[in-house]
Symmetry: C2
Subunit: 346 residues, 2 copies
């Protein structure tokens, strides 16, 4: 009976560590899927976990520490390939820090609902918003509740909230200078959703600089979301109504540019002979030979690392003043603009 009583004592992570001949920290690393444990050690820990029957209890740990080790990510539309790349980058960053990722997709639970759900969730320590607009109720709610939040690749001016973005305006301006430098006198612009600070910044930088340089400008702005469909239809309406056809086209993001290129080719245009096209984001697909797209690449890994730093420091100190970081993009020249060189710095 005493044997049976011993047998039923609830095993602890200390039992597991002793049996595997490792430290409790190592047991915890294996349970968290941390890569820094050798395959052989992990194997020993797994065997010890099995033979002791030890089970970590996350719910109890959460009540005790008030931390879950999980960060939430609110994204707009995962089928825009920019977001999978962002998730991949974030996943690597979190794995490096033994943290986990929970995902909310605003394209599913419509609009703000998903973000609201994330804010009320107690399963996460903090939230990364990539889909916020100034009009976002969820964002206002998060600020009100003092939920640890960081905006990534979105900015809302005058909001007391950590923000990490790319200098979209400067990137748009650089693209206009690039087109002008190579003699394009009529240029086109396909913008993006009004609510997205990224689209607004790129449009502002491009149109202001194009005007200042005396270029004739054809613009189609808006769209419900950045998408291939939007790029395709926007291209058609732009070229249908333009009296003088643009010879160079800047698109609000790469996905939109793919749609515009497909539409241009369906009209028999040759890229880059008849039309230059450039995008924004620098997603992997932009390098595929079918598109070979010139694009402004944002420093995604650096932005993500900075955002996670900010969020964790916010979790630790809710009173720290808000920080607003702005990174520069890099113009990647490819075949869609005939591999034409960058102009000398302004």
């Amino acid at each position: 009976l005493s044997g049976s009583a011993r047998g039923h004592r609830v095993p602890t992570s200390r039992d597991v560590a002793r049996l595997a001949g490792v430290s409790q920290a190592t047991v915890s690393r294996v349970l968290n899927g941390n890569d820094r444990v050798s395959e052989e050690t992990a194997q020993r820990v797994h065997e010890a976990l099995r033979s002791t029957g030890y089970t970590p209890n996350l719910a109890a740990a959460t009540l005790r520490t008030r931390r879950t080790g999980t960060l939430g990510l609110v994204i707009e539309r995962i089928t825009n390939p920019f977001y999978p790349e962002l998730i991949e980058s974030l996943g690597r960053e979190l794995a490096r820090r033994d943290l986990r990722l929970a995902l909310w997709n605003t394209s599913i639970a419509a609009g703000d609902r998903a973000a609201t759900q994330a804010i009320y969730s107690r399963g996460i320590d903090g939230l990364i918003f990539t889909a916020a607009t100034a009009q976002s109720n969820a964002l206002r709610l998060a600020i009100e509740r003092e939920a640890p939040v960081v905006l990534v690749n979105r900015s809302v001016p005058d909001l007391a909230c950590d923000q990490v973005e790319c200098d979209n305006e400067a990137a748009g301006a650089e693209m206009a200078r690039y087109f002008a430098h190579h003699g394009h006198a009529v240029v086109g612009l396909i913008g993006g959703p009004q609510g997205a600070s990224t689209a607004r910044g790129r449009v502002k930088g491009f149109t202001e600089t194009a005007s200042a340089l005396g270029l004739k400008l054809e613009v189609v702005d808006g769209g419900a979301e950045f998408s291939h469909d939007w790029g395709y239809t926007a291209f058609e309406s732009l070229f249908d109504r333009a009296e003088t056809k643009p010879t160079a086209l800047f698109c609000g993001n790469d996905l939109t540019a793919f749609g515009a290129m497909d539409a241009a080719r369906d009209r028999g245009l040759d890229i880059p002979k008849d039309l230059w096209v450039a995008g924004f984001d620098g997603i992997a697909m932009s390098a595929w030979p079918s598109y070979d797209l010139t694009t402004a690449r944002l420093p995604l890994d650096q932005m993500i690392e900075a955002a996670v730093d900010l969020l964790l420091s916010r979790v630790a100190d809710s009173t720290r003043p808000a920080t607003h970081l702005r990174f520069s993009s890099e113009l990647v020249i490819r075949g869609s603009t005939a591999h034409a060189a960058l102009p000398p710095p302004a």
Copy 2:
């Protein structure tokens, strides 16, 4: 003081419901981001949440009910656009049922580690594996621990585990018959990762049927993962070594087919005049004009709905015998095979 004492009573969801003039179930729906609540009602509930200061406590609820309302998803590589589409479909299905999604990406926490972490996590009620192989330690571990698990778009024969897949073998066989029916005597195949049951099934169905029909067959199999790069390099090695060049090519998935098409065009081949190409999955990109790819489309939404049904019933009853569901794909004919009609049913 009594006013102050009243003011400090911990508010409950009942207080919120009363103040908003709705049921507690409605409050819970709003907190879960459920779409079935009208915008106006949600607004009232949010105001009541703010004025009462009520905070749902997920950790306590988890200890009480042993349910977290979160399902975990283990995926292989989120930058393969098939997975974002799967996540989108799963997200819709979970939102419909007031459930949440946590994500583990095996391409980040290398190999089995991510899945192992998911299994030990107490933050989830059950797990959807989309990256399991027969050799997967994580999968064996999950079965040993009687963790509620369902395999989606992967199968492991003789495993006592709920599984939902597509009939990959039948799809491969249909593709071989389609090519043969239109007079292709030499056909090519670009397979996929050896560990993936999807790739193995498609390869088996295609090669066996092609042989039975007397077609000459050129095969490149393997690859670390389904990717554009793999399709591109596999195409090059297949066409370099083939004595008689294939006139029709079946690729293990759509992403691989895009890579193969880009490689073929870089060699000056015209698709479909010189070469037919077909893929598998039916992702949205396959319809883009640059590829316009004939593909076997799997019924993703149906598969996901079935998988969630199985998983929830497994959470409720761990002793139910394992179920293995197999869905049929549908051949979607497009320009990459010259819009040539399907043969009559065998």
